[in-house]
Symmetry: C2
Subunit: 360 residues, 2 copies
């Protein structure tokens, strides 16, 4: 299959999706030949795929070093970024060097941010090895680290020069992470493609069974949807906001229970159910559509209710979410499956009702 | 006088230069009305100008907070950036908020970097209060902080939305800093404008006497030269490199003696003299031009020789400088006053000779 392209003028880049791409030297050679390349990965991913990626980069003509950081969301902070920057400086990497982010969303976000700020920005390639990263975080150029006061509060827009998504790497993904990744796949359908939602309803069991061809279609269609949105609105001044469906509640859930307790996709799943409930009240979402959404999320093994936190805590966390404009909360809602709207006028009382009803 | 413009398409911005502009509300109103604005400044600048800037911003319709950090180069690191980000988050600043950098180059670089990474980038205005910042660091969008292994190694290209340079703020500048700022003014002439060098030779005493009209011309012509370079090459892929004249040696001097011992401008002055000496050997610079350059630097009260460090230490520091491509040193040299060339082929032995001859 040909590569997808994210159309951003001079910064356009290809997304390669398929089975067995991880060590295809032709995908890397255009970017790494004769250059210094640092593979940033985690201690969980390294034993699985690092030597293969080091090998393919060396065969493609790169001088390769590897930087292995701790796995998990708690690694996504400045201390880890500083470790990466320090290793790049120690190895005398210049502005013409390149970073390869090998791993899930945390690795992509933090290695991408390190590339964004190292010597005011060097190139990087995303090699996502989780479903979440393949369908979401590795595409679009958002890089970030967390701050104690909120997730992804520090970051940069920095587009990769290429994305290499090998769906065979999903074979080693823990079941819980596969399901969490499906939350973003479902989200892409819910906000922009009703037909894809139908396809997911029909193919959910094959996806959970990790059939490569089915995974490839799910990743490809998700990336197509996301790429079309980003090409229209790279820096989230308008349309791109629809990709945050479920994320206002979701980020509050992640922060409220403590980063890492709920996976991002689990928080987004519950957040989507809560936003869908809100949509039945202030947008036009029919109750039958809500039921389909809740059923699909539930079949994927994902939560349809948020954790029981004090309403004040939720509201506090949602107000600081960076989608808030001047402290006012903005919600992505659905008029129907496949059709999203952004609303900044939701009464706080209504949100309190959702929090009372849709948390467990 | 009309504002200068830095021509960068959608990211073009005005540079206002004049006497008494600091509290002109019309210069700020287009950017700050009805927005949350954080003034970032230092404990040295705050007693001089903070209340005036807070006042003008409030009159222009902003909700204003102030963040005062320690003065000096040692503040230009991640811990200070984190303080700024923390204050922005604590005050619930959203993506539509704005940072005003009030102070010298350190404040501009670090506040600009904080703005670049806060929620993936918010707008900022430069209000430079030193000659160095007015003629150099506040124009061009380079933001950065230091790393133990090198100056400005962490940063971003992030253009301000406006620059407000009030030459009357230079009245309070310590003599040593005024002279250090002149190094960059001289540099702009040396690399691109021989006529401006002649004007500087004729007007140096009036500049040192801080005559507002003379300062205004020096700042304006420097900014014009720098803006024309940046418009042609925003991200330093080619032409912009000429602005680094004197900086390869200069950065090594700053790092070698310990940041803050030599002012940036002092290090650049000595670095320019060293690069000019090198230019007489590997470029076409006539000895008579070298003598004019050394004389002008000396009349400005700036050093024409670097500190005596081991040659290996110099070479080590120069190799890690981020202008090095793949570990190879690149030098900006002069064929004549007003005409610069970039060279990547200078023999190390020659650099050792310069280091032996041109350090004290």
């Amino acid at each position: 299959m040909p590569a997808l392209s994210v159309a951003l003028g001079a910064r356009s880049y290809p997304i390669h999706i398929g089975a067995g791409l991880l060590d295809d030297p032709f995908l890397y050679a255009p970017y790494v030949a004769s250059r210094s390349v640092a593979v940033v990965t985690s201690n969980v991913v390294a034993p699985l795929y690092l030597s293969r990626v080091e090998g393919v980069l060396a065969r493609a003509g790169a001088r390769v070093i590897s930087i292995v950081v701790e796995d998990g969301e708690q690694a996504k902070g400045w201390p880890t970024v500083e470790c990466v920057l320090d290793a790049l400086l120690a190895a005398r990497f210049g502005r013409d060097s390149l970073v390869v982010a090998l791993g899930g969303g945390v690795i992509g976000d933090l290695a991408g941010f390190a590339a964004a700020v190292y010597q005011r920005g060097i190139e990087f390639i995303q090699v996502p090895t989780t479903l979440l990263a393949q369908v979401d975080s590795s595409v679009g150029g958002k890089t970030a680290i967390n701050h104690a006061r909120g997730k992804n509060m520090i970051g940069a827009f920095h587009q990769p020069v290429a994305v290499v998504s090998d769906v065979l790497t999903l074979a080693t993904l823990p079941e819980r992470e596969l399901r969490a990744g499906l939350a973003e796949v479902i989200k892409h359908g819910l906000v922009l493609d009703a037909e894809f939602v139908g396809w997911l309803e029909a193919n959910l069991e094959r996806l959970l069974g990790r059939e490569p061809a089915v995974l490839e279609h799910a990743v490809r269609r998700s990336c197509e949807i996301k790429a079309s949105v980003i090409a229209a609105d790279e820096r989230e001044s308008g349309l791109r906001a629809v990709l945050n469906f479920g994320h206002t509640f979701g980020h509050a859930i992640e922060a409220g229970v403590g980063y890492g307790e709920w996976l991002h996709g689990e928080a987004v799943a519950a957040g989507m159910a809560m936003a869908a409930e809100l949509s039945t009240r202030v947008a036009k979402l029919p109750r039958a559509d809500f039921d389909r959404i809740a059923a699909l999320i539930g079949r994927a093994g994902l939560p349809v209710r948020g954790p029981k936190l004090a309403a004040e805590r939720y509201l506090d966390l949602m107000r600081v979410d960076k989608k808030a404009a001047g402290g006012r909360m903005r919600f992505v809602l659905l008029d129907s499956i496949g059709s999203a709207v952004v609303r900044g006028d939701v009464a706080e009382q209504l949100i309190r009702e959702i929090l009372a009803a849709a948390t467990q």
